[in-house]
């Protein structure tokens, strides 16, 4: 394997991030007749099932800050977040015309309703609202979830025109296990030596995983980790922070760069959660659908879109993340009008107060352009950590 410099890898990821025509996915589809692309929105879908059908999962996280929304705004009132309007813009402008199906995971009422809108607007595309359990008992939520996954598999078989066997799914689980391992290595490097793998670069590497075939992305992540580890970069007097609340509408790249410029080392975050949703490997023996269900129920991330049945456990994922990464504070960065993140925030902040962990909060949109207030707020936060936390 030829070693690529970090800058080349990052430049490639940034080109993918900027490409609102989804050329890489188009090229993959055109490379062989009969190939299909199934798109999905945040937060999580079992991409293994799409992969097992021989299709490419394509992550759609809205249009970001480079997309001019012309038509999308006509579908939404001013008090609705930006991701659905930019996603509609991607659709009506033909940028997703090569997509054979679109999955809308259960995350909030806006994305839920967008699934119905997509059905109306694109009647020739396969559209599925992908419901997930909010109860985590095997015989209850687990049974429901395996039922939902089998229904999805059935639909995918129809689109693919072939049966999807358990062995197909097991093989895909292994491919995604490998991807999860690579992404975890990236997060471990950043938590250990954040000056070597800045948040803005890690974000781009992660975003690339939405747009490339998974095998290619795994290689890319590993190349980045190797190149970034070997790179000699100066250590700055930054504070180590965790970003939370960005699980759906993704932040503009400039926002992450601005936080770094204001003195933050981002040592953990909830960007592009689909990449890390399942914690650890999913077993590849036995019933693969059951295994995916078990992983979802018992070994998956915590986020505002998910119900926490245990009051004592509520918000503890953040406390643990702070301890595990040696973070000195938490930044709540929530999308404007995001009900799940904004309703969850006061509860999580109370948990952090009790754990004596400093935090700040601000809102953003995927097309936020004015970074000065955020930079000032984050800079003051970092200063206060430096001044007061060591005392």
């Amino acid at each position: 394997m030829t070693k690529q410099p970090v800058s080349d890898i990052v430049a490639r990821c940034e080109a993918l991030y900027d490409d609102l025509s989804f050329s890489a996915a188009r090229e993959w589809k055109e490379a062989e007749p009969g190939r299909k692309v199934i798109a999905y929105m945040p937060v999580y879908v079992p991409r293994e099932l799409i992969h097992a059908a021989g299709m490419m999962p394509l992550g759609i996280m809205g249009g970001g800050d480079n997309l001019e929304v012309i038509h999308g705004d006509a579908y939404y009132q001013s008090y609705i977040c930006r991701i659905p309007r930019s996603t509609i813009e991607l659709g009506v402008s033909g940028r997703l015309d090569f997509v054979d199906g679109m999955l809308f995971p259960s995350i909030c009422d806006v994305i839920r309703n967008l699934s119905g809108m997509w059905k109306m607007l694109f009647p020739d595309t396969y559209v599925k609202y992908f419901d997930v359990p909010q109860t985590y008992v095997d015989e209850i939520g687990g049974t429901f979830y395996t039922g939902e996954m089998r229904e999805l598999l059935h639909d995918l078989e129809k689109i693919a025109g072939r049966e999807i066997t358990d062995d197909d799914i097991r093989a895909s689980i292994e491919v995604y296990n490998e991807n999860r391992r690579a992404v975890n290595e990236l997060y471990a490097l950043r938590a250990r030596e954040p000056w070597k793998a800045p948040g803005s670069e890690a974000y781009l590497v992660l975003r690339a995983g939405l747009l490339l075939p998974v095998e290619e992305h795994t290689r890319l992540v590993r190349e980045y980790v190797a190149a970034a580890s070997a790179e000699d970069r100066p250590i700055k007097d930054n504070s180590r922070v965790i970003l939370t609340g960005m699980f759906c509408e993704q932040p503009p790249l400039n926002l992450i760069k601005s936080l770094e410029l204001s003195g933050c080392y981002i040592v953990d975050d909830d960007f592009v959660l689909v990449s890390r949703w399942l914690l650890g490997d999913v077993p590849t023996d036995g019933d693969p659908v059951h295994n995916l269900s078990q992983a979802f129920l018992h070994r998956s991330m915590s986020t505002a879109a998910k119900y926490e049945p245990d009051q004592e456990e509520k918000g503890q994922f953040l406390v643990r993340a702070v301890r595990d990464t040696g973070a000195e504070g938490v930044i709540f960065a929530s999308t404007s009008f995001c009900d799940p993140a904004l309703l969850d925030r006061p509860i999580l902040q109370n948990v952090l107060k009790r754990a004596d962990i400093p935090f700040i909060a601000f809102k953003y949109a995927e097309n936020s352009g004015q970074m000065q207030p955020i930079r000032e707020q984050a800079g003051t936060f970092v200063d206060s950590i430096k001044l007061w936390s060591a005392a």
Partner: protein, 435 residues
Amino acid sequence: MNTRLVKAQPADVLKDASMIKQKEMMAKHYDRLTDAPQTGAKVASTFVPGNLNELIMCFDLVNNLPEVNAIQSGLRRQSGAYIMEAERAGHSEDVCTYVKSDIGMMLKGNIGPNGKELPKPDVLLLSYTGCFTFLKWFELLREQYKCPTIFLQTPYMADGKVTPNMVQYMVKQLKETVIPTLEEVSGVKFDIDRLREYLKKSAQAEDDLVHILATGKNKPSPIDAYFGGIYYIGPIFGAFRGTDDAIDYYRFLREEVEARMAKGLGPVTPDGQMTEEKYRLVVEGPPNYTSFRQFWKMFYDEGATVVASSYTKVGGTYDYGFRHDPDRPLESLAEYCLGVYTNRSLPMRIDMLSDYINEYEADGLLINSIKSCNSFSAGQLLIMREVEKRTGKPAAFIETDLVDPRYFSAANVKNRLESYFQMVEQKRSGKGAAA
């Protein structure tokens, strides 16, 4: 810009007998709730869509509905202060004002509409039906009340159908989680025959409600199915479904409405009998409660009657045939939750609204888009265009909020309504077609 309003004095407001009866029922219920510490009754907080009142009654629990409390605070002009209290406590200005009104009310002593303190719930029955915010709302309440919280997930009817997987999931939750926890909290053993009895009573009242709402098809309509409809749905969407009180109320209401219909009369408004029905509307979305009377007046002053509305279906789509079924008690509760309006897909909502316009021979669709409620509001602009396209009837869009007075701009709403009525007139005279 907010307009300062003159508060309606009770003596100014005309109500028909059913409205007075309904008010008495609600007052009685609030007394039951606030007397709970003295009577020893235990309280279950839950939500209107997916409200399992029959099941709650099986455990002798008293039903407390935070949404209804927020509505009461809105009608009494208290919600604005409660919302600001919640925002001062760290809640975002962007989120649902029902939640903030409830949290603010709690922070200010939890005083109910009868002026007495509402009791802390013994259990939170989180019936997660048709609204994501419910989930967060009860996580917030659980943090404060530290009481057992039961989760009941209703899968979303995204593909326009109820699948066996959905029903089985819900029945399993009822059998294995909901009922055992309610037994534990209440100390009352579950008796399925008692549930059957309540369900039988529910179906009886539901028959009458369907009949009452269908009278909107008459010309003139003897009811206003939005503003008046809110009074009509109160008992059955709240704490009375499955009771004899509900049966009596809906029988009484049916007779009252039929009598009005027989005389060719329109609805009774707070300012008296409507004399002329100039416009027949279908309305989508909840109303504004902080200026409820003023909002209604903007309609009846123009001779506009709402003949059908989607809001009166958030607690059940009985007009589409659903009835609680004592022979299939748990399945029936599951199907009830699955079918409520906000759990229906956008295409299903478009079908319903288009059907209403045709069946009720309405002049058009009016959408009251609520800032607080993404479950209703996200997608309404597409709904408007699609219903207009299908029915050929004009549609209009206004924006207010449920209980946040900062988002009710009377002048804007009135302007839009007046423009809309002009549009209807043009359409009638054929000018719209030429344009």
